[in-house]
């Protein structure tokens, strides 16, 4: 039973502030303690920093250079959020003819199309016989420089 309303108050005290409930060193211990020993601080967590909606965020890898003009290269890791409403100008993942594809969304004057950010790729226009469905919005690109 996931009885969320029964989670007692005070069940999970804590915040992003320094945790004063951390175990303290016994006063009887000899020698110099490390000044940091009786407090715990929280290191930056990339999940917290980069993912606004954990339930709807998915991690994907780009294959190809068609989005190089948008800063996305072959092998880059993308964070894709399905909870965001796709807007004109967003880089999105779309389901195109059965394949997940990364493109920039052009959505103006009732016209919806997907554009590559690089030469040599034709626009894909909705309604021209092609099934076009936006899967999610790319929020973040992660580039690994030194593996």
């Amino acid at each position: 039973m996931v009885n969320r309303d029964l989670l007692p108050d005070g069940a999970a005290v804590g915040s992003d502030r320094i945790d004063d409930r951390a175990p303290r060193k016994s006063l009887a211990s000899a020698g110099f303690g490390s000044p940091g020993e009786d407090v715990t601080v929280r290191r930056i967590d990339l999940n917290d920093a980069l993912i606004r909606h954990p339930q709807s965020t998915f991690v994907m890898r780009a294959a190809g250079e068609a989005m190089a003009g948008a800063g996305i290269s072959n092998g880059d890791v993308l964070l894709v959020d399905r909870a965001l409403t796709p807007e004109h100008g967003h880089v999105v993942i779309a389901a195109l003819e059965g394949e997940l594809t990364c493109r920039r969304l052009h959505q103006q004057h009732g016209l919806m199309k997907l554009q590559a950010a690089g030469p040599g790729h034709a626009d894909m226009v909705a309604g021209e016989g092609a099934q076009l469905e936006v899967w999610g919005v790319v929020t973040t690109v992660i580039k690994t420089l030194v593996g």
Binding site: L6, N47, D48, P54
Partner: protein, 445 residues
């Protein structure tokens, strides 16, 4: 008012989220040994493929009808389930996760148009997670299940019910005449807890539809069938007999076994999580043996409380396939503990944990194999002994290094071993898109 939220063809729908080419095509998901169809897309159902039908019987449809078969990918389904449940849980004050693809929501005290709320919920799960769901609203669990069935059928078979009941169906919104019409158009076998055998017996006695069943005499039903079926009848009349807070209060054998609990006090150390996970796995194993099943995979989850926004949030949800199905407490506990130990991260206030046993099959289908501890008499040590055994193991591992002692390490589905043993048996498994860094979806750019 209760709601049952249920993902349509859950396993197939999970596969389709990451492989859009599967959309609109007949797809089946095969059990862990690739032996039987455990999920079917609507298109596969239209081909006449039955639930649990052996693969060899339908294999020819690959050529003749374009059937696509994939092996079960429980890691993926389990993670998608966690996402779906989190979204659905936002809409009601109380949620009971009933299985990997369904949860009950209690809307007691919620004002407003529930059908409209249901449509918003359905749209949110579809948009945010990618899974299509059906939702049934009614006064009792059995009625909510039936409303869900009606909503699903109305969508899949246009004309079977009024179109306005498709996807989101509320019995509470129907007047008595319309509800009778729905009951009259529904086979009694569709009722939760009736099933094939009891359904046949009821039909012999002239009770063919839900309407005829609802009008049957309760005392006679109890005498000729059971108290359980009488409860089902009372539930259909609107009298609640199944406890909202008890997952096991169900009229039929379960396809997954889930044991979970919110902690009275947040758990912050690995020992606490491991203790909880051990206990849940033991209880789940007992339930498993009680219904004479064996599990093919073990899922473990623990999470912080989303209702404590000042806490940093962290959720773990992992599923470990077993090399062969088992009902052995020690094996199940070891697998769950191993997974929990691997995934634990310090610095979080964990508020809830659980263990889910998946890929259940009859224990009698066990492979003939020398297993010194497969009988119930031999492998149900008293709880005390088991705890002592686990404790001893932990002490040894602490002293001599992690994993010095493992229970049945040859059969433990660890991260290292499952890759090899699993790959050979699951030839068609899709990547574990959301739980493995090196298996994330690749998009054309």
């Amino acid at each position: 008012m209760l709601a049952l939220v249920d993902a349509n063809n859950m396993y197939v729908s999970c596969e389709r989220v990451f492989a859009p080419r599967l959309t609109g095509r007949p797809v089946v998901v095969l059990s862990s040994n690739d032996g039987a169809c455990i999920a079917r897309s609507n298109e596969a159902k239209e081909l006449g493929i039955e639930m649990a039908q052996p693969w060899f019987q339908v294999k020819h449809l690959v050529r003749s009808a374009g059937l696509i078969a994939v092996s079960a990918n429980f890691e993926l389904y389990s993670d998608m389930s966690a996402r779906m449940m989190a979204v659905a849980g936002r809409f009601a004050p109380r949620q009971q996760i009933y299985s990997i693809d369904e949860c009950f929501l209690d809307f007691d005290g919620v004002r407003g148009d529930l059908v409209a709320i249901g449509r918003q919920l359905r749209a949110a799960v579809l948009r945010e997670v990618g899974l299509p769901t059906s939702i049934g609203f009614a006064a009792t669990k059995t009625l909510a299940k039936l409303a869900n069935h009606v909503g699903k059928t109305a969508e899949r078979r246009p004309g079977s019910y009024p179109a306005c009941l498709a996807q989101v169906c509320s019995f509470g919104a129907l007047d008595p005449t319309d509800l009778d019409a729905v009951f009259g158009a529904t086979d009694v076998g569709a009722v939760w807890g009736v099933g094939r055998r009891i359904g046949a017996k009821l039909r012999e006695q002239g009770v063919k539809t839900v309407l005829e069943f609802v009008r049957a005499d309760a005392a006679t039903i109890r005498k000729q069938f059971s108290v359980v079926l009488e409860k089902t009848l009372l539930e259909l009349r609107g009298t609640s007999c199944l406890d909202m807070s008890d997952v096991d209060d169900a009229p039929t054998a379960r396809q997954q076994i889930l044991v979970s609990r919110s902690f009275g006090k947040a758990i912050t150390d690995p020992a606490g999580i491991i203790e909880a996970v051990s206990e849940f796995a033991s209880r789940a194993a007992e339930k498993l043996r009680h219904q004479d099943s064996a599990a093919g995979a073990v899922g473990v989850f623990f999470t912080t409380s989303p209702f404590r926004p000042n806490d940093r949030q962290h959720s773990v949800n992992v599923t470990r396939p077993l090399v062969r199905p088992t009902a052995d407490t020690r094996l199940l506990v070891a697998t769950a503990v191993h997974a929990a130990r691997r995934e634990f991260r310090a610095g979080f206030n964990y508020a809830k944990a659980g263990v889910i046993l998946l890929d259940l099959q009859p224990a009698s289908q066990h492979q003939g194999e020398l297993d010194l501890c497969s009988s119930d008499e031999g492998c149900t040590p008293a709880a005390k002994d088991r705890t002592a055994l686990m404790a001893a193991m932990d002490v040894l591992n602490r002293r001599f290094g992690r994993d010095s002692v493992r229970i049945g390490s040859a059969t433990l589905a660890s991260h290292d071993t499952d890759v090899r043993s699993w790959a050979t048996r699951q030839e068609r498994r899709s990547p574990r898109y959301t739980t493995r860094w090196d298996e994330m979806p690749v998009v054309k750019a």
